[in-house]
């Protein structure tokens, strides 16, 4: 084609060429747009960085309870050959909880969850009506929540609260309605572990005069984890936590270096994650994963 063109014709063709400034301006616009709207690519779609993983005896019944008491929606259910649930995912107001029936390798173990709702009184009463027992009645707490607490028949604690001192029903800094809650003997050390292993950041740490962690909110990726020093009836309930990180292998190594016990080394999984498992020094199981694409939840 080109040999047929005179230099004037070449100039005419170039007359329509894009300006460098437009090219770079549009690129900046697109970068800004993707930067603003994109969730981290290493998190499986439908989940956030941190998801509580509940292992219960009677997962199907638990899911029914969560639907009735908390308005949960079932997202996914994978039954095993014996009809027990190998893996399921439910959603409460946009927050995911993963669930499985206990087995020999992963026996059931109750967990504690902080549930933020617009009307804690209503949800607390509905939970009781659905078969949960009260741990404490609806109380105006010093940390600004109207909160009641129940224990479901699977042993899980639910701290049902409405924050009353801010614009929304959750504390500032929290973006989800469901947050895993850990009671830890040595919560200060746990926070250091989470920083070293997973790059956690402090949202809030409220300490007693002698330095113990009365309450802490810790950020992990786009999610949060809450904890307090174990005391009285609030004793450790080590649980399962599913954490998406940018680099599963590196996080696994960092966690082990920070004092975790390796359980399963990083490996590619059929469902499209690279996943590993460690137990932290306080007995919680961390299912560390990096989403690589593939099967969507």
């Amino acid at each position: 084609m080109a040999e047929n063109f005179t230099l004037d014709q070449m100039a005419a063709l170039l007359a329509g060429m894009p300006s460098a400034s437009f090219r770079s301006k549009l690129r900046t616009e697109l970068e800004r747009k993707t930067g603003m709207t994109t969730k981290a690519s290493y998190v499986r779609p439908g989940l956030t960085a941190l998801t509580p993983y509940l292992i219960v005896e009677g997962a199907a019944q638990f899911i029914e309870f969560a639907k009735q008491a908390f308005g949960a929606t079932e997202i996914l259910r994978m039954p095993g050959p014996d009809g027990r649930i190998m893996h399921a995912q439910i959603d409460i107001a946009g927050s995911a909880i993963e669930v499985a029936d206990g087995n020999d390798r992963y026996p059931s173990r109750p967990a504690a969850l902080h549930l933020y709702v617009p009307d804690s009184g209503e949800v607390y009463r509905r939970a009781l009506a659905t078969g949960a027992g009260s741990l404490y009645p609806l109380t105006a707490q010093p940390y600004g929540e109207l909160e009641g607490s129940v224990k479901d028949s699977f042993g899980n604690h639910w701290y049902v609260g409405t924050y009353q001192q801010g614009m929304g029903y959750r504390h500032e800094g929290l973006t989800q309605d469901v947050t895993a809650y850990l009671h830890i003997e040595g919560a200060g050390r746990m926070i250091e572990f989470l920083k070293a292993a997973f790059g956690a950041r402090e949202i809030l740490i409220d300490r007693t005069p002698d330095g113990a962690v009365r309450h802490a909110k810790i950020r992990l990726g786009d999610s949060a984890l809450e904890m307090s020093e174990a005391h009285g009836q609030w004793q450790p309930m080590p649980c399962g936590l599913h954490l998406y990180v940018e680099d599963c292998d590196a996080a696994f190594e960092r966690a082990v270096a920070a004092g975790a016990t390796p359980v399963s080394p990083p490996a590619d999984q059929f469902y499209g994650d690279r996943a590993a498992e460690v137990a932290d020094p306080f007995g919680n199981s961390w299912f560390i994963a990096t989403f690589k694409g593939g099967v969507q939840s």
Partner: protein, 179 residues
């Protein structure tokens, strides 16, 4: 598109579909052809720029919907561009659904010319710096010989020489690139 090139494009697309932040490389690869396609049908530079921006915003927003069906990613972009042009000239009285990908794909002859022109635009980037600057200012920024000379602190004669040399180089390279 040869096989390794197609494979690379597929990998880029998959990556961008998983993580839109990876869209940047697709943008760089296809910017010139989208711009050339629109510039082939629309004369006014401001409109060409506006429509080019619309095409990439729309492509980014709908990237998850793109599926390989034997046609390259560029065809998809051309169709978005054709729709954007049609909407511009016939008035966007109705909101076009993204799935409503009419009109039909552009004629092969037109695409051939667009690809040729896009390649010419890209070749400007490979010119020696002084020639590249002259071409960029004269044709990209639409500056006169005089303004270009002032900007580059060269004589008008030197700018004319550089422009002629650049046009010859481009013509020779385009000939050499015919395959």
């Amino acid at each position: 598109m040869n096989d390794p090139e197609r494979e690379r494009e597929e990998r880029l697309l998959e990556a961008a579909q998983r993580d839109p932040r990876r869209f940047g490389e697709l943008y760089e690869r296809h910017f010139e052809r989208v711009y050339a396609f629109i510039a082939g049908r629309v004369k006014e530079r401001a409109v060409v720029e506006d429509l080019t921006a619309q095409v990439f915003h729309r492509a980014l927003e709908n990237l998850a919907r793109f599926e390989w069906r034997g046609k390259p990613f560029a065809s998809w972009l051309y169709r978005i561009a054709a729709n954007a042009i049609a909407d511009h000239f016939h008035g966007a009285a109705r909101e076009r659904s993204f799935d409503d990908l009419e009109p039909a794909a552009a004629p092969e002859r037109e695409i051939e010319q667009v690809e040729w022109r896009a390649r010419l635009f890209r070749m400007v980037e490979e010119l020696p710096p002084d020639q590249r600057h002259v071409i960029g200012l004269r044709f990209g920024e639409e500056k006169s010989i005089r303004d270009t000379a002032e900007r580059l602190q060269r004589s008008e004669g030197a700018v004319k020489q550089l422009q002629m040399r650049a046009l010859r180089t481009l013509r020779a390279r385009m000939e050499g690139s015919r395959g």
